[in-house]
Amino acid sequence: MPQDAAPPPLYAPRAPIFPRRVKGTFRTLKWWIMGVTLAIYYLTPWIRWDRGPNLPDQAVLIDMAGRRFYFFWIEIWPHEFYFVAGLLIMAGLGLFLFTSALGRVWCGYACPQTVWTDLFILVERWIEGDRNARVRLWNAGWSVRKLRLRVTKWVVWFVIAMATGGAWVFYFADAPTLARDLVTFQAPLVAYSTILVLTATTFVFGGFMREQVCNYMCPWPRIQAAMMDESTLTVAYRHWRGEPRGKHMKAEDADQRGDCIDCMACVNVCPAGIDIRDGQQMECITCALCIDACDEVMARIGKPRGLIDYLALSDEAAEAQGVQPRPIWQHVLRPRTVLYTAMWSLIGVALVYALFIRSDIDMTVEPVRNPQFVTLSDGSVRNTYTLRIRNLTAEDREFRVMLTSDEILRIDVETEGRVPNHVAVPANETLQARVYVIARPQDAAAAQATTDLRLWVEDVETDDRAGVATIFNGKG
């Protein structure tokens, strides 16, 4: 290139993409997944779940102010955050598993960006027509008709975007109450601002950014590309079968050509705007729509399906030699995927186990260390403990506080006028009580440095109990 030539542009505008409508197995599967995931997202906050009079009746609720997470029959307190950590680890391992077995299957089917973009394209197709009509409309100058179609589309997009942002906030408050407050402009500012931000991102990402989000904003394509290997099943073009491609089947050299008739169906349906025949590409989200498009064409020209198909890179070479490719189960069932499955299941089982052994009384004992002990007038030695009891049930409960030890010790709980050493913990609350443990001057615990003891709380009615080991400091 001559030095005085103008430098090439370093920034490029987005090339518009007009995905054509397609029918087929994978498209049907994707419609179903879209329907189910969107239904889960929009409807979950409205499911009711009776927990008794003192607790919210929303099945899934993240109660920030009350610091509780409700999920149907499960209630998570802040000190049980390891459940959330465990679920996140499981989500990560699950993603590893699916990526090593099926490539970017998350991107192609379940990612919210894909699902909402798919929905927005569906709306676009309803209003502006299929690919050819949209291309014409794009190229046409502004007219009343174009303006009407565009505005209609944007309004529908905006309504969907607002519903999306709106659904999000219902997970954080009682949905019917919040809905009423939102309409009457009495909801908190944070609800409105959250809806505003999510409406804007949904509208822009689903309507205008689309594949740009995947290509330039999302880190997953790069990470997932690193997790795939030559045995991973991914959407690919059977190069050996399709090439050399050619348009006219009745041309002289037609019998020397491959199966690809260069009809561009795979390119026209692609929401990422790429040509799968160029091989593996960073932009490909493996949505498998090109498989459906190509199968349709192959059926029409009387060739077997699967010119574009789920393939492993290792199979491409084998198939070209005429060797039978490995069966699908051998691709999916590899040491790597088995290991991921094992790890995933192990954490899952551990979490379920932790959930079932979880007691509905939870107590902690914090010995007061400043000072370690107090000498009383009669020479007794007194230790102080801060006792916290969490009542994880929906009923008010009364507990007896007791201690066990090899040495003689006396317990005295600040009870504020109730039965001695009994404390009442309201439903779904944490009670903090000060517990004194006293050793008489003549007893061993008063003189020796430390004495082991265990503090117990026992439900007065059910006799359920929980205990925590701690120590008593003497003068020694």
Partner: protein
């Protein structure tokens, strides 16, 4: 761009930059990215105009919105005060003796009292209120001047043995080194140890009993049970402000002690005195 320089391997356009035969590929960034970048620049500049930012000689630009972190903190404090106004008012007017421990005003007072204690009292009495030699432990059940709410509030308000407050609690033990012989002091020490149930020389203690009757019982009581009106400590228990060993007792009797506490009525307002009184009373020894 008629003469594009395409890289053979990748099929990508190059920028025309070349180093040792290696050409720089041109994968252009999306244009919206550029506009986003310009947007952040504009936002950044606008931000420095709207908010305090540019440093000047003595201060910084105030920003058009007039925002300041100090004002925000003041606002937050005012908001919390407003939120607590009702309970604070209740504490201010309530009779402490009848305030139930689970009353929100009681809890508010204890929490506020803990802050007052940490700021003003912990220097002498310790952060855990366990005291030190010469500084009473406030956790136990022994009180020099009384441990009910009224007595504690009076002590906090007026202090002890200070020249500032005419109503300060006052008493003074004579330095018996000027009155008694060394032997007599030693005998008294043995008797005091007998009173508190410690090991002692029975012969000397018998001698000391007579001296105690003459010299000490007027303030400390016939059996060493102490007299609170005089701030005279009880000598028959296990708690010692300075120490119950022979050396310390000899020192105490010979030279006397003169513990001082400032009058906090001058520094704390009535609400704070109420709060710290509630806090002290519920530490484990309140009467």
């Amino acid at each position: 761009m008629a003469d594009k320089d395409i890289d053979q391997v990748t099929g990508t356009d190059t920028t025309g930059h070349e180093w040792d035969g290696i050409k720089e590929l041109n994968n252009p960034l999306p244009r919206w990215w550029l506009w986003t970048f310009y947007g952040t620049v504009v936002w950044g500049l606008a931000y420095t105009v709207a908010f305090p930012a540019w440093p000047l000689v003595n201060s910084a630009t105030a920003g058009l919105l007039g925002y300041s972190t100090r004002a925000e903190v003041a606002e937050q404090i005012a908001a919390v005060d407003a939120q607590n106004a009702e309970v604070a008012q209740r504490l201010a007017t309530a009779d402490l003796a009848t305030l139930a421990p689970d009353d929100p005003a009681h809890r508010y007072g204890v929490a506020g009292g803990a802050s007052v204690f940490a700021a003003h009292c912990s220097q002498c009495h310790g952060s855990g209120a366990a005291g030190a030699k010469g500084y009473p432990n406030l956790l136990d059940d022994d009180w020099l001047w009384g441990g009910d709410l009224e007595a504690i509030a009076y002590t906090v308000r007026h202090g002890i043995r200070n020249e500032v407050d005419p109503d300060a609690r006052w008493s003074e033990m004579p330095a018996f080194g000027e009155i008694l012989e060394d032997g007599e002091i030693a005998a008294t020490v043995e008797y005091v140890r007998q009173l508190s149930g410690q090991d002692h020389d029975a012969g000397l203690a018998g001698q000391g009993a007579v001296l105690f009757e003459e010299q000490c019982s007027a303030c400390h009581g016939e059996a060493g049970e102490g007299i609170r009106d005089l701030g005279a400590p009880r000598l028959s228990d296990a708690i010692w402000l300075y120490g119950g060993d022979r050396e310390t007792l000899t020192q105490t009797i010979t030279y006397s002690r003169f513990g001082v506490m400032p009058p906090w009525g001058a520094r704390l307002d009535e609400d704070e005195i109420k709060a710290v009184t509630l806090y002290l009373h519920q530490l484990g020894g309140g009467e």
